[in-house]
């Protein structure tokens, strides 16, 4: 287990003290209210960070009032004691460091034109054939989701799909492309430990290494990607061009894309490509490299982002402005809320409920049920609180890192995003692009079109987790 998860286990043990049932129920109702508020984020016209921020303030005040919080000095590993506000150690700074560092790294790297260069090269390689384009864009979505993050991947591939299909006069196929790409972001998000936030949280808590995660998740990702694109092409009638005239016209149209247009400096472009490969290699090898092993993935992510920022040394503030502070604030506040919930025995209560789903001892039915219920839950609200909560509960239950229960949470939390347009941030981006092109796709319309795919993904995931993990 990592130092963070050891800390979580210690604090969980510390939290076992008497709390009245009324207090636990009060905090449980606060947690339910938080989840409902997040589900209605759009209706409330409020950002996630503020919603959870308000709840964290209320939770801390009530926690202090009911004497639930462990006030006092904090003992460091070297024996020193330090004064620290009670909510600071509640935050998992390792996770926040990875998200902060990775997003900065990706943002600066994208300025080199590397991702758009790859995207346009693939567009040209398709010669404008719609079916080839769907396969190339689908595979690119999965790879970008795995290497970058789901939202950035969807923005890059989705915006390219809009521009290229318009150029190819194939805007009638745009809905199919964007929907499939949206679904594939959540498949690609399963590929590596850093591909999505639930992976980072659960992987961190379980102590799963980058390489183990990749080796175990990749067979599923390959099969699910192939089936999704194949099925998508059939359902949305995306076919290859037949006549030579059509092929020639399409090839001429895609030839007008210039992959080098976004490359401002060739030297920086090559440097960015090198750094991207080095970043992935370093993240993959973190658990085995001396020094780096102790500093952790967040160190790797932040140091790589700092190296990249040297290129823009006089304007780094522009990149700081572009950081998704709403997401960072959301995480910090969420960790605080969950910490208070832990002290209020709410997680223990939910843990008992989950215990009933998964059974006293690990069994196939229980693992499958955990995966499906995680998927259903994350389809209507954010999958991050779900994974953070479940990770903490499984840690408290001292579930071994090799247990399929961790994978049930990872697969359920990621794939649930495919059931509804609000299930994940990347599907929300896909729907935003769909609406930007004046394509009518209401909530129910999305569910109707995405349901066959989501059911297939979850069914294969259940079989895969139960049979192979």
């Amino acid at each position: 287990m990592t130092s963070e998860s050891s800390y979580i286990a210690e604090t969980a043990a510390y939290a076992i003290h008497h709390v009245s049932a009324e207090v636990t129920l009060l905090f449980t109702s606060l947690l339910v209210a938080l989840i409902v508020s997040l589900a209605f984020e759009e209706k409330l016209h409020a950002k996630k960070s503020l919603i959870v921020g308000v709840f964290s303030v209320v939770c801390l005040l009530l926690g202090a009032y009911f004497n639930l919080l462990p006030f006092g000095e904090l003992t460091l590993p070297n024996g020193h004691k330090i004064e620290m506000p009670v909510f600071i150690p509640a935050v998992d700074w390792g996770v926040i460091g990875i998200i902060l560092g990775s997003s900065l790294f990706v943002d600066v790297t994208s300025k080199s034109g590397l991702f758009t260069w790859i995207a346009i090269k693939l567009t040209k390689a398709s010669k404008g054939d719609p079916l080839k384009l769907l396969w190339y864009y689908g595979l690119m979505t999965v790879v970008f989701s795995a290497v970058l993050n789901n939202v950035t991947a969807m923005i890059i591939v989705g915006s390219l799909s809009g521009v290229s299909l318009k150029k190819l006069k194939n805007t009638d196929k745009l809905l199919g492309f964007l929907l499939i790409e949206g679904l594939l972001t959540n498949i690609g998000g399963l590929l590596t430990l850093i591909s999505s936030v639930p992976n980072i949280i659960v992987g961190h808590a379980a102590g799963i290494s980058f390489v183990t995660f990749f080796v175990k998740a990749s067979p599923y990702v390959c099969v699910a990607t192939g089936l999704t694109i194949f099925m998508g092409a059939k359902i949305f009638k995306i076919k290859s061009l037949v006549s030579d005239e059509e092929k020639h016209a399409a090839e001429k149209l895609v030839a007008s894309f210039d992959e080098n247009d976004g490359v401002v400096s060739k030297a920086f472009f090559r440097f960015a490509a090198f750094m991207l490969v080095a970043f992935i290699t370093m993240i993959a090898a973190t658990s085995v490299l001396p020094l780096i092993r102790n500093l952790g993935m967040s160190f790797v992510a932040i140091s790589f982002s700092i190296v990249m920022l040297i290129r823009y040394k006089s304007e780094v503030d522009q990149f700081y402005k572009a950081i998704d502070w709403d997401l960072i604030g959301f995480f910090a506040a969420l960790f605080i809320v969950i910490n208070v919930m832990e002290h209020a025995q709410v997680l223990g209560l939910i843990g008992e409920g989950i215990g009933k789903i998964i059974g006293e001892t690990e069994n196939l039915m229980g693992t499958g049920a955990l995966l499906i219920s995680s998927a259903v839950f994350s389809s209507v609200t954010d999958n991050i609180p779900l994974s953070a909560m479940l990770a903490k509960i499984l840690t408290a239950k001292q579930v071994a890192s090799s247990s399929p229960l961790w994978w049930a949470v990872v697969f359920g939390a990621n794939l649930g995003g495919n059931l509804t347009p609000i299930g994940s941030a990347s599907t929300l981006v896909a729907v935003t692009i769909i609406h930007k092109y004046n394509i009518n796709l209401p909530f129910a319309g999305f569910v109707k079109k995405a349901l066959p795919f989501a059911m297939l993904h979850i069914a294969i995931a259940v079989v895969y987790v139960l049979a192979f993990l």
């Binding site: 758009t116 923005i155 989705g158 915006s159 521009v163 692009i433 930007k436």
Partner: protein, 286 residues
């Protein structure tokens, strides 16, 4: 979702118009004059000399229309529509003495330029003294006005065919300074937009696209081995003044431009003032 727009902008910017070359062969040229055969002889001779270098088909023919064959604009339109020549050569203010004033092209030309699908080569009036000395020389310095329609292959292809062997074709794109400043003035009153940044970005963007298209024209003509030298001029300025300056600078002896405007019945915004002002050299009006 600002980032969606950012990436869309990057991809939209990557889509570039590429020039496609097309061979143009002339099978028939119609010369329209308001004079009698004898009086028109010198003008006809000059036109034939000027068009000596254009690629002509095996069945090439000249058709000379004299003053007695037409009266109204309708007569000219009927003639052109009936015979469908590949090129019409004429001059301004037919059947009128208004050619001495710099105010109009005359009723015949106003209509012909809008209705005819055939390109019109507008020449200096044979009776006027304002024709440049090199006006009827072999066109070895041709300028094409590319700022009317982006990626206009037809315009460039015609300009290439009219440029004499080893001559120079200037592809010129001038953005209107007055229009640009008007928008910058509006932007300067919007507090959320940085005016200096907007000026810099809009100016470079405005000039980048035509520069890219012209680059593709130059590359393709070079790859095809056509014996035409090409140069690009992309700038912001006052339209007519800037063109006049460039015409003098490069001793241009033919200006090529579009006249049709899909959005209006009248001639293209810049084509008309240029045609009125530039009386000294031949103007190929497509």
């Amino acid at each position: 979702m600002t980032q969606i727009d950012q990436f869309e902008s990057v991809f939209r910017s990557a889509v570039k118009d590429i020039f496609h070359y097309e061979e143009i062969i002339f099978k028939s040229v119609m010369i329209i004059t308001d004079k009698a055969e004898k009086e028109a002889a010198s003008f006809v001779e000059n036109v034939k000399k000027l068009l000596n270098t254009i690629p002509k088909g095996d069945t090439f023919s000249w058709r000379i229309v004299h003053g007695h064959e037409f009266d109204s604009a309708k007569d000219i339109i009927d003639l052109v529509e009936k015979e469908k020549p590949d090129l019409v050569c004429t001059y301004r203010n037919l059947h009128s003495r208004a050619w001495s004033f710099k105010f109009s092209l005359g009723a015949h030309l106003d209509v012909l330029l809008q209705v005819s699908s055939s390109p019109v080569l507008l020449l200096p009036h044979p009776d006027a003294s304002y024709a440049a000395k090199h006006a009827f020389d072999t066109p070895n310095s041709v300028m094409a006005v590319t700022d009317q329609i982006s990626a206009d292959d037809r315009l460039v292809n015609n300009a290439v065919r009219f440029t004499a062997k080893n001559g120079t074709l200037y592809l010129v794109h001038i953005e209107n300074r007055m229009v640009f400043e008007k928008f910058i003035d509006v932007i300067s009153k919007i507090s959320s937009i940085n005016t200096d940044e907007a000026r810099l970005n809009i100016e470079s963007r405005l000039l980048k696209e035509p520069a890219d298209y012209i680059k593709s024209c130059i590359r393709i003509i070079k790859e095809l081995g056509l014996l035409v030298m090409m140069e690009a001029v992309v700038d912001i300025g006052h339209h007519v003044g800037k063109y006049r300056e460039l015409i003098d600078k490069y001793r241009v002896n033919m200006l090529v431009m579009n006249t049709k405007d899909d959005e209006q019945l009248a001639m293209h915004r810049i084509a008309y003032p240029l045609a009125i002002e530039l009386r000294e050299i031949p103007l190929l009006m497509l």
